[in-house]
Symmetry: C2
Subunit: 311 residues, 2 copies
């Protein structure tokens, strides 16, 4: 039986080209092109009842978020569309196009294939971006680097929870789940300064652990420093349970950046930016993961985030 | 209800960037990069009982064939792998890797996502190639251009038919179905000379019609000139029905080239090439499609090839 880790090990053994970056990153880097591919599966990455427009938006946004984390400028995309022949696809394309138009990602091609009637849709996008002079990987972090989060954490997970309780739920948290905003301008400003950078897609604790492990570090994270939106605070509160929920929720599409201690990203950001940026902790020496909040140390939850992969 | 044609019309309306070539081609062309994405669906593009190694091989080969038709040199690929957590995926990756290694296509990244237990697998690959100085599209053909086929036609369809009758079938026709050979060297030699070029993936009659329509032409094709392999001749014969079966079968991954009348590709091919190349007809003035064989005119079959798309 193939587990996630053996499958990834196999892929790493095959992907030996330097552009693959050892598959320790969310992107490949080929010359000055940043390449990424993300796939959404019906019932796994989105709810069958989600409006098709929002699924299209989300497919573009999750790929754009990978470009954002590397400071890349969108260049173009190829779509893999499975079609069951309903008007779902037309509405999906409308949302995809809206996100692409909003972020300067032209659709260049792809493939449209038929799907057996009852099969869940599988929707893939390959996005290409033009890299800046420096493209941070996941693995360049050093002990002592501060960990910063750009954007807010937990909104999407709270939105998904609301939808599971009531599929007619709406509001800013549901919007955050359905229509994440890739932080492209912010990534272009900050990624070149970062020792390591990635987007937070599977939960802050899980993604921070991935960055730390790729960098040969551990981390110290302060739950009380998490950037929480007003809507999240109103809906979920701000106690330890709420903050743990936010830190393990996933689908945030915030950016996680390891920045040298002396660097204050607030000073380098464009003035017109309205995105939160918060220091949530630091990278530490290998293998130590320490979570705390105002009340003291917090035991690590068993589940650090959302694992998309099979096991 | 969305039909194939309305979905394609929508996609064309969205893909206005020049690199998309109006989606009238199998690839996008971004600077000197040729980009293509092909997706295989279990039960649609391959049989659930096919050896996973051959599915991996085929996924790489069908994408490489698109690069071949444009005369491009392989650069790298991104994989979209849906995993159900069995050893199927490990075997699939072995075959994919073998094809990538054989043709110089390094795996650079991608995404691995979980799939609900009963869902058909959906496997996608984005392939990038470096273009030569001239990259023929589908749409550059002119009335009077001769239509040439490189490779043989019908083997794969005959192999699939044999597998449907007996899932233990084997031999060169089954191999042609399971392990198509992308004609990269031949494409690099001939594509720069062609007014129009594409690979034959969905049936010669259908793909020739697509080329002719994209070029504002019709075609005249001679069934008796079809390049048929010895194995196909032995298994299916060479009568009109066999030739119509070959010409509408699909999954050939031969190349279809429109070449100026005076050009004999046999003279420009590398001497060591062992691939058949045959003149099968010509492009004609708009809207006329004439099929013939030794016995005279042949009525166009209702089904010209294999339509992957839903309708």
């Amino acid at each position: 039986v193939s587990t996630e880790s053996t499958l990834l090990a196999t892929l790493r053994r095959l992907a030996t080209h330097p552009a693959a970056r050892g598959l320790a990153d969310d992107v490949a880097l080929l010359g000055d092109l940043v390449l990424t591919h993300d796939t959404l599966v019906e019932g796994v990455h989105y709810l069958a009842g989600d409006p098709p427009e929002s699924v299209g938006w989300k497919l573009a946004a999750v790929n754009l978020s990978d470009l954002a984390a590397k400071g890349a400028e969108p260049v173009g995309a190829l779509l893999s569309l499975t079609a069951r022949g309903t008007d779902w696809e037309e509405r999906f394309l409308r949302g995809l196009h809206e996100a692409c138009e909003s972020h300067g990602l032209p659709l260049l091609g792809g493939d449209t294939v038929a799907l057996p009637a009852a099969a869940p849709r599988v929707l893939g996008l390959t996005a290409l971006g033009r890299a800046g002079a420096i493209v941070p990987s996941r693995s360049g972090g050093c002990p002592g680097d501060r960990l910063w989060v750009a954007g807010t954490i937990g909104d999407s997970a709270a939105g998904l929870r609301a939808l599971r309780e009531d599929e007619g739920a709406s509001g800013p948290l549901v919007e955050a789940y359905r229509r994440p905003q890739p932080l492209l301008a912010l990534g272009q400003a900050l990624a070149p300064l970062a020792s390591a950078a990635m987007d937070v897609s599977d939960g802050l604790l899980l993604d921070a652990t991935r960055m730390a492990e790729a960098s040969g570090c551990g981390w110290r994270l302060d739950l009380s420093a998490l950037p929480l939106s007003p809507a999240f605070r109103a809906e979920c509160g701000t106690d330890r349970a709420a903050r743990l929920f936010a830190a393990t929720g996933g689908d945030d599409y915030a950016l996680l950046l390891a920045l040298p201690t002396e660097l204050d990203p607030g000073l380098t950001l464009p003035k017109e930016t309205s995105v939160n940026i918060a220091c949530v902790g630091e990278l530490t020496k290998n293998g130590v993961f320490q979570l705390a909040d105002d009340l003291g140390p917090v035991p690590l939850p068993e589940r650090l985030g959302y694992e998309h992969h099979s096991s």
